[in-house]
Structures are given as structure tokens and as C-alpha cells.
Symmetry: D3
Subunit: 304 residues, 6 copies
């Protein structure tokens, strides 16, 4: 069960409204890696965690923290949208733009009005919306929770990496000291969370519960081991041979990387079965070769 | 520019049709971490790679390989759907189910017909569809490409971890030796790809181009460093104190983890600005207390 | 900022696993009116509330409560999926269904395995997912927060009405006494929440801040009042004349209902303007009859 | 079966083109509460109505009217996009913007060209699209039809409240007298429709077919009555105690509101069951402490 | 403006309920080519038609007809869902399946209950929903209306071809004579509509308003004519040389097909520009080759 | 299996950056008819093709070519976004717009910064994204592959018609000679592909494998032939009588077009069955007329 404290985890008010920036920072609320995603991701992982209690507790700690991050950003957007030029000014809107450039209404307001997210005015009444910087709504498929902790901790590390990158880019896109101050707190928390998931991965791997390759509980002899450490060079050029992934011991310590410079297909040319006549697809029957025919499959030659 | 060889990278034909399993294995084509996602993810990352050539080449190698994985799975699904009980049999469909149990039509066919993905019959004519195991279509937002290689390699590691986990689960969900053989190849490739992204991360970090926290080019002094290594215990209970993330040097070597057992809000209670009257939201004016009132913010106490 | 208590608001464990029912009850988590929707809806409304503090506080109270409802349902689904027949049993899967009916494996397991949500096994590892009963993900567009409290309280009343209806239907779809007990708590809370929104509407209307029609701050003389209380009978048959909406004083007390039995269009036949040649749409020019009937295109003047 | 009259229900042509406003007013066509949604919502409710004929007839009347509202808006958008600056002017586009400000091309055109919905040019050739003001497409999940008339009438009331609010906001966002005139008709119809659904709710409740709480056919003794009128104060601060929802008789006349100032969880801490090894999730087994605290897993019996 | 007649365009009632078939036939309502799509597609094309009046009138005729097709299917689904085994029967649900097989409850009901679309019970109360056969909602992006009539008539021909194919497949999937009778009407209308769009294409091409290639108003000399009739053989094997598309005059009568057996790239290897440092992507700077370097682009050789 | 050559199929670099145009041209990558759609569409059709080998080979040829078209566009977008004004310039951002107009920063940059796709900066780091010109992501439902070759070739013809139309419009929207040159290649390929699908349709029809109406394998006597060539005039006005579709032999050569000027419904007024009480929908029971009542269906008259 959850409780709410009215105060924000951290906050400094924007210095001035900026409706276009309000649109952009929506990415951190409803984007693929926004706070709505990570909040739900950590809570679903925590609720479904069947591993040691410390992981479950840790997941619920951070998931609960993230709810408050949405709250901080929603508050910031309300302030950024304050006095947004969302409606027509009385003094003659049809000439607003020319007027704007000549004097009168600010040209900044004209551009803001045209370029802001229209739903910030029409739909939410100058409040945050549960969508990203182009107005695409948050989506449950962004949320990752598999029941395998190493797979999920890696997902969390990826989400916090993309998330901090986006927050930093948004920091660069404004010089409002209030916005930057609040973002500098959130970026610091993302630093912690990247470190936290790296630590959780180390903690989990050292416990022996999961190691590479995920899932480690699948017996390796059931996979085709001869292909488990090969790099296939399917794109022309051999620069990829210079990387760590092309030679030397594999990262899981269970094999040796191998570079396949000239990869060849190992399987046959496929022959999908003839279609069920009741489904009225197109088969080969008109050619007098009904059914599993394709009697003379074209000779398969090497292409390259 | 791309070329195609008619032969499959690897393939063993399923031993027998299984329409319900065909529905399930769609997850590996059009799911969040399906081959359509990773194929596009690696190609978009490669096309937009502005880092050293070896990374670009490597991304295009693996992206090109993954196109062929969709092809293998599409072929498998066509075989799994062969002779699927998609239509009504002549011998009296109205009693098919009862008949099925009593004798006559196979009860397996009755259940298959009811439980298979109906679009496999109606929409695709017993072919694969670009959707997941519940019929939800592949979506461009699943594809991650940020222009920051460390962020993206972590995304790739996460995708291959979730992907191998799903392939292994699907391996456990059948005992068809043809399907298992093909999956054992794909699982081996996922082993390689997990290793590959771990190696690429090591390679990149050792080059100094990127390190933790991502993006490492953002000056750390611009984030609020005092919160960059704190673990906040927002969920009751202190089991999370036992993890690697709660004490000791941080993973980036730049700080020391700290456990905040009793976290308190640092910000004020928010007061969103009064609404623009032209947008007809609800404000506080009827109470004669317009604007920034809310004069006595409630005392903040620890709730739990 | 939020806090979490490890105990659930209310819970009684299901008596037995039921994977198909687990799929169905997902509707209450990720469906249009699921807990993910209403939780976010109330929090976004609260965060953006600029009206009297009691409304803001009330919205945050209930939004915070709803987070815990997702938690209860996620826990229930984990129990319902326990020992779900998600994988193939060793004893000869190829004949499982026939065998199931004859003896051996339970026919219930065979049907469960075929009909359960496959993502409950493949994607989440027998945990809840952020999606509805057909696997469609939760979507930010389900969340309604407009900044107008009467509009939003009506949205909340609608959500709780649809939500309680769905919970009641799910109650009827099981006879598991554990599930029914937990649902009977949630249904009671929905009773409260319907009452709560009705009370909030009364409270708000009596405060004079908002009344019908929403938004009441828009001057009525700016709408075409002569059409503001007419019922148009566009579908054959006059049974609709018998309702409260067809005669008598209007509900807002500002007009009189009128029944238009034989409605006629008031506007002209439209003539969209000829297409811009640079956009290569199809116009009427090839016939040498530009705008057949568009004979007097309105004089176009330079606007600014 | 449906028929179409070429004339519009009502219409006044916009005074002048305005491509950015055309983008904004798309919200009323394809938005969550746009005409596409309510048109389908009323028709689906009508087609599936099993209640008294007057309700079915009324639903089909209004659903049929709403199709014509899409038509009015689509016509308006075609006029608003007439001569939209969708393509490059011959006189030197590379310098268009600077030139625009200095003289030559109108700065209004430059801003319009940059800020209009690009799909209005590229995809629809200066016609309306079935999407909202940020280009997000209409979605079947927006349409609500449950088979329970009181639940659905409340949904309709909510849709018309949000819809009128959005139409009013769009009225404020233009000073084009043609657009305002057409909108003033649509806003009046929304006034009627809010009144209509309030009347329909009264009509239905007085018939005794449905009352609060919806669905009223569910026996109240099957819900946990002791929690059916409690307000839980999950967010710090007691301002919510001042509302109509916190004390006095409940709105359904069947209980008394109660304010729970210090709410406590009633359920246990949850323990999800240990994962199925075949699904390779992470459990607690490596520690030799299976299910720390899951010490007495409930006896599993064969169900069927 | 639209009117509605209560009678259906055509209808024969299903002989018996079939909840699983009700799920399948949803494809014809809310699927990619369902009636919701084509109805809106024809109306949007008609509303935005700026070509000769006969096309506009024809589009509005067929669009209006299609609304009634949704109505027929929605009615059929309500009948197919009548007495659907949506809830638990009183006589001991926990043993339903075993009982079902042994006697008692019908095994058909058990399978129906497990395999039907759960939203048909939970969400719509045994009515049709605006979604397809896997529950995915109708989507505005399915609707095509470009302003170019030849492009759009081809889209309509494609939609009616896919639509009739799906209706025929659904005909084969039932032996209910009522359903088949209604479908045989709809299939006949699809025959008309395929013919209609072929006729409209001929009519339009003969008018000279549009011909191949669409849009024909674009001056051909502005495209690279030397590549406008070449077939590129990018997939191994030359069987594609045997088709009409590989030699002889082109279908537009303006060129000659040419078969490029061994296609070669015409462009350079791409070098995306170095990233903006403010966006913290990964560039090549660590290698001492900042900016537009990549000084020694790898030799490009022919791969195949 | 696929291979990649580092060189592009064709390419000329844009003359200068243009961030707003970069947003627009995304339509050709991730839009409904973008290269992601057609690439996957042709490959899925090819992989599932069970007809004569030449069709399968041809589909795989063109599908493989289209992968390279995404590559060309992704490269173009990277160049168009080079030096995009994505971040705040140092010299005083708070006054950037006013400053921009007065002197200092270019006004073009200010408008570009406000109107560009924000995800091009925040999410992809100045690279292409898998989405359309309004940021809506590519979607698997855009991809059409039915197993019936004539239905699918018509889908392909439609896609290439819409696609060439969009490319031509984008050509008109820029005067950058680099962009226009690359587009003139892609437009030429679209000319070929329209011709190719027309040729494939002729080839297939002449082979006798499929003809109009699709699917031609369905016995015509199973459809209601009396309605298979009627045009229904459901929209007022008879201009539609003037078209090729209204009289004369039908295009399939199997019937004669007939114009139904005054169409009447052929079916009854529908009576959906009374609702299942367990699902708590609203029925007619309160009126004491349960079930199939509605005794006196209203007389049906012609409405318009």
C-alpha cells in the first residue's frame, strides 16, 4: 500500500514560462524511458520478484521513488506552461504575426503559440500529459518485467542510461536556471541508478543466482555450442574484426570468440507447404504441380 | 545496399504442425524483443553511428544477420501452420466438439482451432504475421538508437538477454525436435550476442570514448553530486540495505554508496499557477483567494 | 513524494491456480478502465489541480490508494499463474491432447495451456503484465485530466462505473472463494468511489465553481442558443420522443427540451477548394471546368 | 441502414486559411473525445442496446447526427488548409526565412509551413485526417459500450463534457468569425448533449432499471460493505475531510460516508510463489532457503 | 448530414450461438480492412474530393452503405454471443472441465469459455467491440485518403480485395447457415465493390485526370528516367526474369522493362557527420580524428 | 540469409541542413507507406509465397532492394540534421527569439529549433527514427501479406501509388538540389514498382491462378449473385449514375452493372437477445416484457 507526502522530492521553479520546452520535456514523463515507464517497470518487477528479499525490497524502494519523479516533472510543466500564448490575443489576431515582427505582440509568443504541443492547451488545460515529446502516449509495452532478475537488471541499466542521456540533452536545450537545477537533481539520481543496477548485477552474479548467458539455468549443451561464439561478418568490410568481440576468450569465460569473415548459409532453401484450398491463398496448382511439388527446386548456388 | 541468398542461415523443419505453438512463437518475430525489433535496432544504430568505423561495421554485420532470423521464424511458422484446423470440416461442424471428444474429429484439432491466432487463418492465410504472441503488432517505439554507443550497447545487451530468455522458454514449451533444433541454433546466437555486447561495452569503455555514468561527456559538476550515490529507502523495510548498491565504492569509481534509511522530501509543496481563464479550467477564484495563496502548507511528517 | 508499506491494502489468496482466469483479470490492471488508468488519472488531475485545496488533496488521496490496487491484482495474478501448465510435460507432448482426454495429463491443463495468455509464460515468467485481458497494453490516452474539475469528476464517475461493472462481471466468472473475497473488497471500494465522485460533483456545483453545461465559464450567448436544447430525430422512429430528454425543462435549468421529429440540414452542400497543383491531388481542371459549381470562388486576399 | 443528404447540418466557411489552426482542430475529429469516437460510441451502444426501445432509438438518433459532425469539421479543415504554404515557393527557398523577415515571403507563411501538421500536406493533400491535434490516430479503445445503460450514459456525459470543453478552448484560440460561428453551433449541440445524458440518467434511474452503484443488479451483500463508504486519506494532509464525500449520507442513500484519517493496510505482505524452473525466472533456491518466509507453501492438490 | 433506417440492409440470424466464431468475425468490423476502416476511408475521400462531382457522389454513396455493414455485423455478433458461456455455472465450476468431459456441462462450453474473446464478456457485455479478431482496436492509420483519386481508388481496390478474401475465409470457418447467408450477401457486395473500383480506375484514366504512374501530374523528366523501368535482382536466382515485369513495354506505355541481373550500388559509402557535442552522442574524437575525418574510407569492393 | 554492401544504392548529399524538412521526410521511412512498411510487406509476402517460384523470387528481390531505401533516407536525415539548432546557444537564450529577429541568432534557427521533431534531438541524437512525419511509430499492422497473390499485388500497387505521391509532394517541399536528386531516384524506382505490380497482376491473371473477384477460387454461386453488380445510391443526388460503375458490363466480365437509385433495406429491424443477468447489462425486464418482445416494429419508410 502507498502513501503520499505533499512535498516534492526536490524542486526549483522555472524562471519563466516556455511552452515549447514544456513540450520537449514531456519525453521524460511519457517517453519510452520516461518516469512512467521506469516507475511501473520497477514496481512490476518488485511485485513479481520471487528471488531473495533484498532484491524485492530494493525494487520497491526505487519504484516508489520514481512515482515522485513524475510529480516533479508534472509540476515543472505546469509552471513552464503558465501564461502560455495558447489563445488568441484580443488585439487583432489575424495580423498577429506581422504585428509580432513589427512590434506589438512578441514574435516569441507567435512562434510559441504555433509550435507548442496543442494538447497542452486543448486537452490538459496547461498541465502535463501522459505522453512523450511528440504527443505519443505512454504504452504498457515499454515496461519490462520478465521474472529473471539478471535480464531485468540489464533492462533497468539500459533504461537509466537512455534516460540520463535524454535528461542531459534536455539540460543542454535550456538555460533556465530553475529547470537546470531540478534537472541536475534528476541527472544525479540517474547517476545513482546506473550505478545501482551495475551493483545489483554484480551482487546477483556473485550470488550465483544468475550469470551470463541469461538465463544461466538453461543447460548449455542444449544450444548449438559451435555457433555460440562466432561473429558473422554479414556486412562487407572487415573493420569489425578489430573489436574485442572478434577474438580472445568470450565474456562468459566459457568459449573463445571466432571471426567468420565469409559467412555461408547452413540451411536449405525453404519450401513453405502448399496452401489450404479452403483459405483461398495462391498455390502452384495451375502449373499442374499441386501439393508438395516444386518438383525441381532451383539449384542452390553460392552467391558470394 | 542489401543482397539476399535464398538459403536460410540455419533450419530444421518442425516434425508436425502445431497451430497454438505457431501463435506463441510469434513473440520472437514481432514482440518487444523480437527479431523485427533487434534487426531494425542494429541497422538504425549502424546507419547513424558516427563513432569509430569498427563499431559501425559491427552493427551493420549483426543487423544484417538478424534479417535472416525473421526469415527462419517465418518459415517455421508456415510449417507449424500446415494443415492447421483453420476451417470447418465437412462432417458436421455443429457437433464438432462433442463429436471430437466422443470420437470422430480429433479433440486436439478442436482445441487448436479455438485457441490458435485467428489472424493466422483470416489475415495471413497460414503465414507468419508481423506481430507478437497475442497479435499485437511490432512497433517502431521498441527500436532504440540514441547516437550514444554505450547507452545503445546496454540496450542491445538488454534486448539479447530478454530475447534469449524468451527463446529458452519457447524451447521448454515444445518437444518437437525440429523446432527445438532450430531454436537451439538461435539460442546459441543469442549467447554470442550477449557476449558480443558485453565485449563491445568493454571495448568502448577501454577506448575512453564512453564510461559510466552515460553520457560521460556531461561534466559531473553540473549534477547535484550530493545525491548521486544515495540509495533512498522509500519502501518500508531495510532488506535493501544488504545489497552491493547500499555501501562501498560506487561502480563508476567516483563516489561512495550511501543508504538513506529514512528519506525526507527536499522540495516544497507545489503550487501550480492559476489557470488561464480563456482555457476554462477550474481555479480558486470563487474563494476570493486567487493566485499563489495556499498560505499554510501542512507540516510534513514521516508517514510510515 | 511517495512511500510504500509492504503490506497489501486487502488480500485473500486464490484457492487454486487458474491461468485462463489470470488472463481475464488483467482487464482490471491494464484495461481502459483498469487500475493503471485510474491511478494515473487521479494523480495527474491532482498534480495539475489549481482549484481549492480540498479537491487537490482528495485527488491525491485516491490516486495514491489506487497504486495499491495494481499491487493487489498483480499479487493475485502471480498466485493464479502458480503451476500454470505453461511448458510441455515430459511424458510425450505430441500426444498430449489425445492422451489428456483418454487419461494421463489433465484435459483441464491442456485447455489451460492452449488458452492462457502466452505472454504470461514467455514474457513475464508467470507474473502480471501491464496490459488488458487480450494482451493490449495500457495506453496514456486512456488517462483523462483536463484542468476542469467538473469535466474530470464526470470522467472519474464514468471510469468507476465501467470499472465496477467489469469487476462484478469478473466476480461472476469465477467461484474461487479467495478471488471472490478480494474482488468483494475492490467492488466495495468502487461503490465508495462512485459515491465519492457523485459527492464531489455536488460539492463542486454547490460551490458555484462549475455547473452544467461544462465549462460553465463560457458565456452562453456565444453559443447558438436556438439549437442548445433540441433533440434531433436522425434515426427513423419516434420512440425517442418518450424520454426525459425530449420535453420539459432542460437539466441545466436554462432552457426547454424540444423534439425535432423531422430534422433538416441547415448548411449548404460543401465545396472544398481546388487542390494545390504542387501537391498533385485530383482536381476538376482537366475538364476545363474548374470547380464545377465552384463558380464564384471567394476573392482571395493576402492576409498579412 | 444509413442515408446521406449532401447538405451539411450547419456550416459557415472560415474567413481565411490557417494551417496551424487546422492542425489544432483535428482534436475534435480524431481525438479521444472527437466526433469519430462519440459517433461510434453511440452507434455501438445503440446496436447492442437490449433495454427499452426508447433508449435504443435515442442512441441511434444521436449517433447518426454525430457522423455529420465529422463531415462539418472535415469541410472546415479543407477550407482552413486552402492555399496552405505547404510547398516551397519558387523565389529562393534556401533563404526563405531570413527573406521572410526582411521582406519577400510572409513570415506568417514561413511559420505556418514549419509548424503545420506535415501530414496535411504529405499524406492527405490538404484534407482532414482521422487523427488528433498531434497526429495520433483515432483508436477503437476510445469507444465505450458496455451493455449497461447507466454506465454508458455516464460515459457519454463525460465525453460530451470533455468535448464541449475542448470546443470552447478551440473557440478561444481563433478569431476567425466563420470558424467561431460553426463552433458556436457545435458547442450548442454539446450543451444539448450534456443535458440529454443528464436527462437520460434521470429517466433511467427513475425507471428503476439501474441506480447507483452501477451495476445495481449486483447484490450489495456480496461486496465488503464495511469498506463501501470509507474515504481513505492516503496523501498527507486532511483538507479532503472538508468535502461532501467525507461525511453525511452517501449519494446512493444506502450508507454513511466515513473519513479514515490514518489508513492502515488490512492485508498481509505478499509472497508470490516460487517460479517454475522451466521458465528460468529467478527464485530463491540458490541460497538453500527456498522461499524465505514461504515456509509452509499451501498444500497443492490436484484440482480436477 | 446522415439519416438512419432501423431496418438492416440484409440479414439472416445465426442458427446458434458460437462465441469463438464471434471473436473471429470481429476481423470484419475492426480489422485493418474491416468495415470501420472502409466506411471512414470512403467518407474521408468523399469529403475531401475536389475532382468531378460524380466521383464525390459515388464515394459518399458507398461510404454511407458501409456504415450499415458495421451494423449488420454488430447484430450478428450479438446473436452469436447469446447465451455465451461467459460466467461460471452454479453446479460446481472447479470441476467443470472434468465434468465436461465425463458428462454434465458441455465440453464445447468449456472450450468456448476459455477461448472466446474475454472482452466480449467483461467489457461489452456480449456485444460487438470496435476491434479485430485478436482484440486489437481499430486505428485511424488504417484509413487512406490522399486527395489523389487514382492513388485512392487503388487503395480501395486493395481494401476490397483483402476484405472479400477475409469474408470468404470466415465463410469457410463456419457451417452455420444463418451466418453463411448473411456473409454471402456481404461477399456479393465485395464483388461489386472490387468491380466498382476497377471501373472507377478505368473511368478516371480515360478522363485523363490521372494515369500511371501516380501522380501523373509530376513531370517525368524530373525523375531519374534511366532507373524507372529496371528490375533489380537483389535476391539470388533468376526466376524473376520470367515475369511480365522483366521485359517488354512497361505498363504505362512510356518505357521498356529491363532486367538487371547483377545489380551494383550507385552511391558512395555514407559518412554521417560528426555529432553535436551538446547532444552527447559518440563521435570519433578519441581517435584524434575529430569532425569530418574518416580520412581513409575503406576500399569499397563488390560483395557478390 | 542477407548480406550488406556498405555503398548506398544511390545518393546525393543534401546541400544544407534543414531540421524541419528532416522531420517531414520521416514519412518515407516510418509512415503507413514508408520504406519500413513496404520492405517488410514484400519480404513477408515472399517468405510466405506458395505460388510459382518466379513470384517468390520477384518478391524477395524487391523486398531486399527496399531495405536499402531505408538506409538512403536514414543517411539523408543524418545530413539534414547536421548542425541542427537543437540546443541553446550560449549568447543569451532567454532572449533568443527577440534577438533572433533583431539580429544575432538567425530567425531561421529559432523557428527550426521550435518546429523540428524534438525526438531528433532528445531521443536519436540527430539521427533518423523509425517513425513518421508526426513522430508516430511504424506499426506492424501497416504490413499486408495474405497468401493470396492477386490481393497482395493490389496492396503493393496501392502502397507504391501512395508512396510515389508522398515522395513527389516532398520533392515539391524543398529546393535543396541534393535532396531532390536523391528523391528523383526514389521516385523513378516508384515508377518502376507501380509498373511492376501492374505487370505482376497481368502476369498472374493471365496464368489463370487468380482473377477478379479476389479470391477467384470461391464459387460464385455461394455469394448472393443478385447483389453482386448493383450500385446503391445511399447518398442523395444521382451524379454517381454517370460513372463506368453504374451501367454496362462489369469489369470481371461476369455480370452487368445496375444502378439502384432508391435503395431500400432488405433485412428486418434487429432485436438483439436479452442480456445474460450474470453480466449485469441493462435489459427490458423492468417493463415486464422480457426477451423477444418489441412487438410492433415501426413501419419503415423512406427517409430522404
Amino acid at each position: 500500500m502507498f502513501y503520499h507526502n505533499k512535498r516534492l522530492q526536490y524542486y526549483r521553479r522555472p524562471e519563466r514560462p516556455d511552452a515549447v520546452y514544456a513540450m520537449k520535456i514531456q519525453e521524460l514523463i511519457g517517453g519510452t524511458f520516461g518516469e512512467m515507464t521506469v516507475m511501473m517497470q520497477y514496481l512490476f518487477q518488485g511485485w513479481n520478484c520471487r528471488g531473495p528479499t533484498k532484491y524485492r525490497d530494493m525494487l520497491l524502494d526505487i519504484g516508489t521513488e520514481e512515482i515522485g519523479h513524475i510529480e516533479m516533472l508534472a509540476t515543472m510543466i505546469a509552471h513552464l506552461l503558465d501564461k502560455a500564448p495558447a489563445t488568441v490575443q484580443e488585439e487583432g489576431a489575424s495580423d498577429a504575426v506581422v504585428g509580432a515582427v513589427m512590434g506589438g505582440t512578441s514574435p516569441r509568443d507567435v512562434i510559441m503559440n504555433a509550435a507548442m504541443n496543442p494538447q497542452h492547451a486543448i486537452v490538459s488545460g496547461l498541465g502535463a500529459t501522459p505522453s512523450d515529446s511528440v504527443g505519443y502516449p505512454g504504452n504498457g509495452r515499454f515496461i519490462v518485467a520478465s521474472g529473471n532478475l539478471l535480464a531485468d537488471f540489464r533492462s533497468n541499466l539500459h533504461a537509466e542510461s537512455q534516460g540520463r542521456l535524454q535528461a542531459v540533452r534536455l539540460f543542454e536545450m535550456t538555460d533556465d536556471q530553475g529547470v537546470r537545477d531540478t534537472l541536475s537533481f534528476m541527472i544525479a539520481r540517474d547517476t545513482m541508478h546506473q550505478n545501482q543496477w551495475l551493483a545489483a548485477i554484480e551482487d546477483l552474479e556473485q550470488s550465483g543466482l544468475e550469470t551470463t548467458p541469461v538465463p544461466s539455468s538453461f543447460p548449455l549443451e542444449l544450444e548449438k555450442r559451435e555457433f555460440a561464439y562466432q561473429f558473422w561478418n554479414n556486412s562487407e568490410g572487415n573493420q569489425s574484426e578489430q573489436g574485442r568481440w572478434a577474438k580472445g576468450p568470450s565474456m562468459d569465460g566459457k568459449g573463445e570468440f571466432e571471426y567468420v569473415a565469409n559467412p555461408q548459409p547452413l540451411g536449405p532453401e525453404p519450401h513453405p507447404p502448399q496452401p489450404d484450398p479452403k483459405l483461398h491463398g495462391t498455390g502452384d496448382v495451375a502449373h499442374g504441380q499441386p501439393g508438395n511439388g516444386h518438383s525441381a527446386p532451383p539449384l542452390v548456388e553460392r552467391i558470394i
